[in-house]
């Protein structure tokens, strides 16, 4: 099998887009484009872009650094500066990168933020993260509280609260740093492009219902959601990327082909899995290969919904710009209650014809991880699909034990084989 995956057209296109974005960020101090740091869940990219500002997503920087093998010195530097071993490695990677000169994963220098837009969506650590960054950058910070869907749905009062904050706090802050007035027509145009991209993304993700699946909805989906989770939602480049991606996946499906993986194209798919939890980034390809080598394809994942849940019908709505931004934030995966997460997973297992359910639990992220053992048992109970539980971390390589993971996964796949054999005997 080939060491390198076949590069899809969309992958090459994305690589160009990301490279160009980082170069544009590096040039921002000269071009005068304002820079807004914000987080992936609850990112308001359409709004930020409508002010001519450029978004920076610290989680993306951290995971990209880890994929390039650069996260550990950053984490070590942060721990040396007093950050606990026990806390989120994304934060430490970001803090360490900043202390080392803020050179981003692609080798270009990241500009200082003109504004920290703390969209407090589904993750407590975000709040501390930007308090920490504010200490360093001494720049304005604006806060958007996105209420948690504790009762399983967004309430009208919660929606009104978010819209009020966007209108009364966020927009004035963006006006101030950009020197531009709020232009709702421009925002509507961005949102229309977002909705078109979201249609295409959902078509791509739902193509995994086919057998064989033309995509891997966990490892492969990391690439598919990259632009929409980061700087490109609502942009023309983003819209073009998703149109191209959809075309590519539909062509592959028509040919009955599986997705590209680090072990080559996965046409012969023995196991169809649903996966809960983020991937490991320090050993991303090695981790993926543990699945691909066993003929396991992931047909649905929750991580691919962390920056927005679109496959249950939500679309950004140009007709209700601020309300729809609020709905978007509220619906991000980790802002949903555990029963909602279980219901989502149950529907994935059933609708995507999965024969197994796997939790990859990461040490860094309590928002995902706390409660996952209960989720595992509940999804197993409701679907009958056998579950498995493996652990590592996001960007701290010390918690990635390849032998242990491989051993557990192989045992799990053998169990799935035995179960299948038993069912057909």
């Amino acid at each position: 099998m080939a060491e390198e995956p076949d590069k899809d057209r969309s992958m090459l296109l994305q690589k160009e887009m990301i490279g160009a974005h980082y170069r544009r960020l590096e040039a921002a101090p000269e071009t005068g484009e304002p820079v807004v740091y914000t987080f992936v869940p609850g990112n308001l990219t359409e709004l930020i872009r409508s002010f001519g500002a450029l978004p920076v997503l610290p989680e993306i920087n951290a995971l990209q650094s880890a994929m390039r093998g650069r996260s550990m010195p950053f984490i070590a530097a942060a721990e040396k500066a007093g950050h606990s071993e026990d806390v989120c490695s994304y934060v430490k990677c970001d803090v360490g990168m900043m202390k080392a000169g803020n050179v981003g994963p692609t080798g270009t220098r990241l500009p200082k933020p003109d504004l920290l837009l703390l969209s407090y969506t589904g993750c407590y650590t975000f709040m501390k993260w930007f308090e920490l960054l504010r200490e360093e950058y001494q720049c304005p910070t604006v806060f958007l509280q996105v209420p948690y869907q504790g009762d399983g749905a967004e309430t009208p009062a919660q929606r009104a609260f978010m819209v009020r904050q966007i209108r009364e706090s966020l927009i004035p802050a963006l006006e101030k740093v950009s020197g531009r007035k709020y232009d709702e027509d421009l925002l509507r145009e961005n949102l229309a492009r977002s909705a078109a991209s979201e249609d295409d993304l959902v078509a791509v993700l739902q193509s995994a219902k086919k057998t064989p699946s033309p995509i891997d909805a966990y490892f492969g989906a990391v690439y598919y959601v990259g632009p929409i989770f980061s700087a490109f939602r609502g942009t023309e480049e983003g819209r073009a990327y998703y149109a191209e991606l959809r075309r590519e996946v539909e062509e592959r499906a028509a040919r009955g082909e599986g997705p590209s993986t680090p072990s080559g194209r996965l046409d012969r798919q023995k196991h169809r899995l649903v996966v809960e939890g983020p991937p490991n980034w320090t050993h991303f390809r090695e981790f993926w290969r543990m699945f691909a080598d066993e003929g396991a394809v992931v047909v649905a994942s929750t991580y691919s919904k962390v920056g927005g849940t679109y496959d249950f019908g939500f679309r950004h709505d140009p007709g209700d710009p601020l309300g729809s931004l609020a709905d978007y934030c509220s619906g991000c995966y980790t802002n949903r209650s555990l029963p909602s997460r279980v219901a989502m997973l149950e529907s994935y297992v059933k609708e995507y014809g999965a024969d197994g359910f796997l939790v990859h639990s990461v040490k860094s992220c309590n928002s995902f991880s706390a409660g996952q053992l209960t989720i595992l048992r509940e999804v197993e109970r409701r679907t009958g699909a056998p579950g498995a539980f493996i652990e590592s971390d996001l960007v701290d390589a010390r918690y990635f034990s390849a032998a242990n993971l491989k051993n557990r996964l192989e045992s799990y796949f053998q169990m799935l084989d035995a179960r299948r054999a038993g069912a057909t005997a």
């Binding site: 026990d86 703390l118 709040m127 920490l132 200490e135 948690y148 504790g150 209650s337 040490k363 209960t374």
Partner: protein
């Protein structure tokens, strides 16, 4: 009542993992109900106004063997949720008709979902505290949350809260907070009169008994602590920061105080004094509670700090207010709020020239030797070189 009698009462209540005092209250009226809440802050007044007994659920400490709870949580998650689940799975919390989960961190937030899945017959509510800088928006949001909570608990208890019952509960809460503040002030002034191990037992007991019983014991304790002769001792005065959720075992608190320190301020059971001045009794009571939180709640790691200089200033201000010579950052292992805050708080303290040490604990920590050595050395260094 003597000091010993009060402290014995408090210890018996605080150590009782069967929640006998709360069960006794319930048995007096078969139709009555109780609502549990987790750290850090829950509006006990709303629970009481619905005719229910508020019961703080602060884990099993070092007195509970974890048999089932570990099956619910990975090794890298703090100890508190596993002991809370252990309490529930062993039916020790079966007397609760409702459970409230305040916005403390993602672990407690998700524990609300675990509860919804495991115990669907219980009323479960996640309390999304207001975090925004704009007090008007924050108060409006929190008032709405409180109203939703009051409706929900009213349905559970069969006694919907009214403005009158809310005001009555607020008045009682104000009185209890005044007494807590008095006790903390007395400890600041005469720490030898109020050993923290006794103070903590009283606070813990106060979380699980009816408020009147707590107030009665607090008054009695204050009287004996203010009047009683006590040997003045010269020790290092320290602020203990970071233990606002998972509580340290009593042995750890004793260890700190017996190694040459007086604890003159702390975060233990912070929810009982989070609101500052008295909550207003005039006007809409839910609005008053909401505004009290938004405008006057103490700074804590679980709530956003809108002031860019706030984190750096926090320790200097607290140490000055308490007359503390040094700060001990004592956080529960894997406690995101405390551990993520620590670098900022410590940097502020060190910039102000305040000596600091840091360690981590779990509620079931059983070995204290390392803490004794660390705190003892810290106290010695303050005494030898402090103010130099």
């Amino acid at each position: 009542m003597t000091r010993r009698e009060i402290v014995d009462w408090a210890a018996a209540v605080a150590d009782d993992l069967e929640f006998g005092a709360a069960r006794a209250w319930l048995s007096e009226d078969p139709g009555s109900k109780a609502a549990g809440y987790l750290p850090v802050y829950a509006p006990r007044e709303v629970i009481a106004a619905c005719g229910m007994l508020p019961v703080g659920v602060h884990g099993g400490g070092d007195r509970l063997e974890i048999i089932r709870g570990d099956a619910f949580y990975q090794s890298y998650i703090c100890h508190l949720p596993r002991s809370v689940v252990e309490l529930a799975e062993s039916r020790r919390l079966a007397f609760l008709s409702a459970m409230l989960f305040p916005a403390t961190c993602d672990v407690i937030r998700n524990l609300s979902g675990v509860w919804q899945l495991l115990y669907p017959q219980i009323y479960v509510r996640y309390l999304d505290l207001p975090q925004v800088a704009d007090p008007e928006a924050g108060a409006a949001f929190w008032r709405e949350e409180l109203a939703t909570l009051a409706r929900g608990l009213g349905e559970v208890s069969g006694h919907p809260a009214t403005d009158d019952t809310l005001r009555e509960a607020i008045a009682a809460g104000n009185e209890a907070r005044r007494l807590v503040r008095q006790l903390y002030a007395l400890r600041r002034e005469k720490p030898w009169s109020v050993p923290t191990e006794e103070l903590i037992l009283l606070m813990r007991a106060g979380e699980t008994v009816p408020l009147e019983a707590f107030v009665e014991k607090m008054r009695a304790y204050l009287a004996v602590a203010e009047a009683g002769p006590a040997r003045v001792r010269d020790r290092a005065r320290v602020l203990v920061v970071g233990a606002f959720c998972e509580q340290p075992p009593l042995g750890l608190i004793k260890t700190i105080e017996r190694s040459g320190c007086f604890i003159v301020d702390d975060d233990f059971l912070l929810g009982n004094r989070l609101l500052g001045p008295d909550v207003l009794l005039e006007g809409d009571p839910l609005e008053a509670l909401a505004r009290a939180f938004v405008l006057h709640a103490k700074r804590t790691s679980t709530v956003y700090e809108p002031d860019p200089a706030g984190k750096r200033a926090a320790m200097k201000e607290r140490a000055a207010a308490a007359g503390a010579d040094g700060i001990i950052f004592a956080s529960a292992s894997f406690c995101d709020p405390a551990l993520l805050d620590r670098p900022m708080l410590r940097a502020g303290a060190e910039a102000a020239g305040i000596p600091c040490i840091a360690f981590q604990f779990a509620e079931n920590t059983g070995q204290f030797q390392q803490f004794r050595e660390q705190a003892g050395t810290f106290a010695d260094s303050i005494k030898l070189w402090g103010g130099a």
